[in-house]
Amino acid sequence: MTQTIDTTIYAAVSEAIQAEAKRILTAGEVTAVVGYAAARRKGSAQPIVITSAVDAQKLIFTPACVNNLAVYLTKAKKEIPKSGRIGIVVKGCDLKALVGLMGESQLKREQLYLIGVPCAGVLASTIQPDTGLTSDSIAPKCLECDAHLPQGCDFVPTQTPVSPELEKKYAAEIARLEALTPQERWAYWKEQFSKCIKCYACRQVCPFCFCEQCLCDRNKPQMVDTTPRPAGNTAWHIVRAMHLAGRCAGCAECERVCPMDIPLNLLNRKMAKELKELYDYEAGFQVNDKGPLNSYTEKDDQSFIK
């Protein structure tokens, strides 16, 4: 049954974001603000970097504000000025990525001015941007959201998002795949990975893919075949999932941007689930110096080792 999701607060949230952006830019508290602005298509939005207070009125928040803007603050995005303090509009899921980046010494909290967004959810990928938000059109990540209200921001509009309990699609799909035989799972992923065209959109939007040169772009040695054939595609997606294990904050940008609809976040969620079970680790709002895969205890499980 389709449930409508109430996004009426977004208008007031947009106004609050505009006012705050205008204030901090005027007061010189920040040199730039990264946020969302309306684009040409009806109801659509795109990321924008503004540096003057007059542009603050361009900022919006709507169900089409799907991006995780944290990617613009990583060292991979050389175009964004990194001098001075930068304001950024963040949803709860995006904030977890920023927290992860702080934990990995990529960002300093004092260099950021966090404008948090009370968020009831955003649209799924390939949905026409002017579609109303319902349990059908909502991004799958929002179905499992536990961060409608970001914590520890410098500014959060006062509105409270209404978020009904929704069916958790990832949890159900992971359980379904886990119940299959290895051969069936292999067949499932083979079909999915075969669609991959190696456009690397999944890598480019990921806040955690900030390597100066990706392992997969290097050829001495060539660890992963670069051609978009099923073999190279499978290797790439396994490597990608492994490199994000214990770091991924769950913004699901990889899956949203995939032009071939490969359910990449399933891999990330599966790894998150395993690391929670194994090492009781979960991405959250608390900055941790060490993640689960760059720390250890002497008592870690080794039942799989002879």
Binding site: A39, R40, R41, K42, S44, A45, Q46, P47, I48, V49, N67, V71, Y72, K77, K78, E79, I80, T126, Q128, E191, Q192, K195, I197, K198, C199, Y200, A201, R203, Q204, V205, D217, D225, T226, T227, P228, R229, E253, R256, V257, P259, M260, D261
Partner: protein
């Protein structure tokens, strides 16, 4: 604007423009002018050659027969939830109501193909070329006008200074069956770049859905005629049924001359920063584009044996212009995005007198950060 149906769309793009003397001078002496005169003539000469009618059922029978004959029938089908142009196992798989996620260029310019193989045994090295005569005979069916129109555009570059036998041989062996488009969204802009939902450019045989079912068929080449003649029993004489309502993309026509004139003068311009700072540098736009045709060549294998492969590449990638020295002339994303626009609306025009964009809107729908090429071209045309 936007009301384009049947022949109206065809003629409209050749309507004379109202020109100022300066523009006229510019136009008259440009290659563009010559080529557009030529293309008007060639379209006038071409016209359709043969008109027929086919029922939906007979179309399916035709596809099944072609498959049975051993031809590769490529058409939109669902692959793990994603609509893609792919070889059909039977006619039941075809889906005609959705624009495939990737374009039709793949039939001639594969995502990845072998171009050579090598083996090394001791001191003996053996190189083996790919024999293009083994490329399969293909019928590409249900191609949207925006995809079909891109194919003649690609002919220009693949048969230019070097004749790319991989592309040209596949092209020779493929019959293109176009299909008029009945559904558009606000990312579609074929009408803005001089095409239309019923444009037959690039099609050997063109189908237009009719009210009451079935399709009007028009042929535009020997290949199209051969296809009809070899299965003449499935076609009947044209009935006078009305065409179903075709798609109506809402984007206004671009003044491509004006856009090009601006691009000619503004390689360096602050506008590129505001347009493309948001670009994250993936290859999604280029890979789903019907007209983008950059490729990379890599060797894959071991010391003993391996393959040389040609696969899609994209100017949005950091690695695209990265030199062995470590220097990168396009060191920032706006410079890379500028190349995308320049190539589509200036360089290709300079070289071949054509625009490298058919308005399919795929890059707009699929850009991870909402970059809208139609909005950008519109913005440039207003400068």
């Amino acid at each position: 604007m936007g009301k384009t149906e049947g022949c109206k769309g065809l003629t409209k793009k050749y309507l004379p423009l109202v020109l100022t003397p300066k523009e006229f001078k510019f136009l008259f002496f440009s290659k563009v002018f010559v080529s557009s005169v030529l293309s008007v003539l060639s379209v006038a000469n071409k016209g359709f050659r043969m008109q027929k009618y086919i029922t939906e059922q007979n179309l399916n029978t035709l596809l099944d027969k072609l498959i049975a004959e051993g031809k590769r029938v490529v058409a939109p089908r669902m692959n793990a939830g994603t609509p893609l142009y792919e070889p059909l196992k039977n006619s039941g798989e075809i889906i005609i109501d959705q624009l495939p996620r990737r374009s039709g260029k793949e039939a001639f310019f594969p995502l990845c193909e072998d171009i050579m193989s090598y083996t090394k045994e001791g001191q003996k090295v053996e190189l083996k070329d790919i024999d293009p005569s083994r490329f399969p005979e293909t019928v590409l069916v249900g191609v949207r006008p925006c995809d079909a129109a891109a194919i003649p555009v690609l002919d220009a570059v693949f048969s230019w200074d070097y004749k790319d036998e991989f592309f040209l041989e596949r092209r020779k062996k493929t019959t293109i069956v176009g299909l008029a488009c009945t559904k558009a969204d606000d990312a579609c802009f074929c009408t803005a770049v001089g095409l239309s939902p019923s444009d037959t450019k690039g099609s050997d045989l063109f189908l237009t859905p009719l009210e009451g079912g079935g399709y009007a068929c028009e042929t535009f080449s020997d290949k199209g005629e051969t296809l009809i003649n070899s299965h003449a029993g499935l076609f009947s004489e044209p009935n006078n049924a009305k065409t179903v309502a075709l798609a109506e993309p809402g984007t206004e026509a671009f003044d491509l001359q004006k856009v090009k004139a601006w691009l000619d003068e503004h390689f360096e311009d602050p506008a590129w920063d505001s347009i493309a700072t948001r670009c994250v540098g993936c290859g999604a736009c280029a890979f789903v584009c019907p007209a983008c045709h950059c490729f990379d060549i890599v060797d894959e294998g071991t010391e003993k044996s391996g393959k040389r492969r040609k696969n899609w590449d994209a100017c949005g990638f950091w690695k695209f212009t990265h030199h062995a020295s470590g220097h990168n002339p396009r060191d920032q994303q706006p410079k890379r995005y500028r190349n995308r626009i320049m190539h589509k609306f200036k360089y290709y025009d300079d070289k071949f007198g054509q625009t490298l964009c058919t308005g399919c809107g795929r890059c707009i729908r699929l850009c991870p950060v909402g970059i809208d090429i139609a909005a950008i071209v519109e913005e440039i045309s207003k400068k």
